[in-house]
Amino acid sequence: MGAFQWLMKKITKVFGHSTNALFYTLLNREILKEINEITKKEEDSIAILKEIGKRAAYESCERHSSIFKFMPGSPKKILEYFEILWVVVFGTELDDYSYEEISKENSKYNDYVLKISKCPICAGYGQDIEDTFDFSKIKNEKTEGLACGLSGMLESVANYILKIKRNDYRIQIIEQACIAKGGDSLQFICKIYDYKQWKELMDSKDQEKTTIDAYFGEHLEEEIVQETKLDIFDKLQDVISIDKLEEYLDEPLETIKKRVSDIIRDKLNMEPDHFFDYFRNYEEDMIRIIGYLGIHLLNEYGGILEKSLKNEWVAKVFGYLFKQVKEMVSLFIPLDVIRDYNELLVNFLEGLAPVEMVDNIKQLTGKDTINLLFEGAQMALENLGIAFTELKENIWEELKKEREDGLISSESTAVDKTRERVPQIINIIQEMLMIITDILTLPIRIFISESHYGLKTAINSVISEEEGLYGSIKERFDSIFDQIEEIRK
């Protein structure tokens, strides 16, 4: 599994609100039954449930639009990442499935058929007396099945991504086979249309449109993305999509330098040395900016960081963690390792930035660079809500202070809950520190890889993806996500 898929799955699982899957499935059934009580016509009920699914997903996408800016921007890529779409919409793993490409003449993109052998929505349908929606009453063979709400959600999310990535293509997702209707699997067909064909398709579906309009009074119209909304991240999103993570891991330093040069030329319309010349004699600020931007880029993934830091306690814990890491770096990381980082930066800038600037950076010690990066990161975290000036020496003093002030509930249940969470919190901190230690050994590996095997080999420690550095970091993050899930329960 690629890094992007893994990351998206983990984030969705940890930060979405989950319930038991049987509750989800039965709620879906009840919604369909209620619709059918009004329409009294099964075909219409299915069309309306699909429309409800579309609208529900669109609302979710609108609320979390920034996370989609870094999703893949082409229809083909989106369908390749169907597994992620499934996790985003349904929140559970997509088990056994197959994927077939059906060639389409005179078209840029082919159609895709996804066959999913196990469908949670249809699980056990028909075995309980409350399963009263009768699929045998459906005469039109093209009518979708019990997962039509889900197909509406998937279509809505896929098209929202294309819209936000300013792609002119749109995807139609239709549930072709349904286990509750007697099929042997759940099957979706995904058809890709250019915007003109899409409009024509929508206009041609008169009967469906009439049905929807009759019950809803209005059709869900796609909002046009305004050009004025473009910001620097919009400009850069095509080249820094996180789905390209695997590609970056494959490329050694020289290729990354070339790619950065291309980005500067394409997106900012200037030569790299002209761009870096702006920072000549302001090298320290430039390094601070890297730290600053690093945090803000992190926050771009759904604004999760900023939202989390709105909670006073999360902000405080994060602040203490940051302070601790800042101190630990100089305490535990050998100066040689820090110096390697500085050398890596110099190597990176050579050929890209003016010679004078590279010489100035060579004057900085590794420790200076790390401190400057942390200063920049701290400024960004202050922007996002951490009041560093109000933090105590350590978190235990903070807890003591709050107890004296009576701000933490004295109810035994609250104390018990906090106590239960302490081991998880300590584990998270420990894992975070181990990750940082792991990452800080990276420069040496990169230099070795530059002359021998390339960055990916270095990350994977020549052994395997799972056993190397990448595997180690992934394992630690798995553990952190598990701890967070435990705390959230």
């Binding site: 609100h17 899957a21 009004i38 979710s60 559970t92 309980d128 329960k489």
Partner: protein, 168 residues
């Protein structure tokens, strides 16, 4: 071989979009002349309970001594919610304070119902179905009373209130 419903009790699903779907359904129902929306949502909850209990139930009997624990377990296992419960003996009410209600998160200007009416119907029905088969006078039966507060109404938490009563 597809999943069974028993299999589904062992896994989780993300509710974000299904929660939105409940409010879309409410809009659809209101627009198409449904007047007793509260009753309809509670009925949906009851139907969910009737199916659900065939695959999982928290205990074999609910009485005054374990009522709080049973309700806590139902909320935790089915809805992944941690709740605090208060029993008001005088009024015979059970007040459940749900900080992260699975069906309510945002306030909508055009919908005047809380999604957790469904939960009210489901939880009461699970308890009543458990006790239906038990011939014991100490068994407790509850019925939906009201959603006193909800995040869907702009409150910070959802407070679902049940009335303690006799057999159906």
């Amino acid at each position: 071989m597809n999943y069974s419903r028993a299999d589904l009790t062992q896994t989780d699903a993300t509710m974000n979009q299904m929660r939105n779907a409940v409010y879309e359904l409410a809009r659809f129902m209101e627009r198409n002349g449904t007047v007793d929306l509260k009753v309809k949502l509670r009925k949906m909850g009851k139907n969910i309970a009737r199916t659900y209990i065939r695959y999982w139930k928290p205990t074999d009997q609910v009485n005054n001594s374990n009522l709080k624990d049973v309700i806590t377990t139902i909320y935790q296992k089915i809805l992944n919610s941690s709740v605090s419960i208060e029993i008001v003996d005088v009024e015979k009410l059970v007040k459940v304070q749900d900080y992260k209600c699975a069906l309510c998160k945002y306030q909508y200007d055009d919908v005047e119902i809380a999604g957790c009416e469904i939960i009210l119907g489901m939880v009461s029905e699970i308890i009543n179905l458990i006790n239906k088969e038990v011939k014991d006078v100490s068994s407790v039966f509850i019925e939906p009373f009201e959603v006193a507060e909800s995040r869907a109404y702009g409150n910070k938490v959802c407070i679902q209130v049940y009335k303690i009563g006799g057999r159906d």
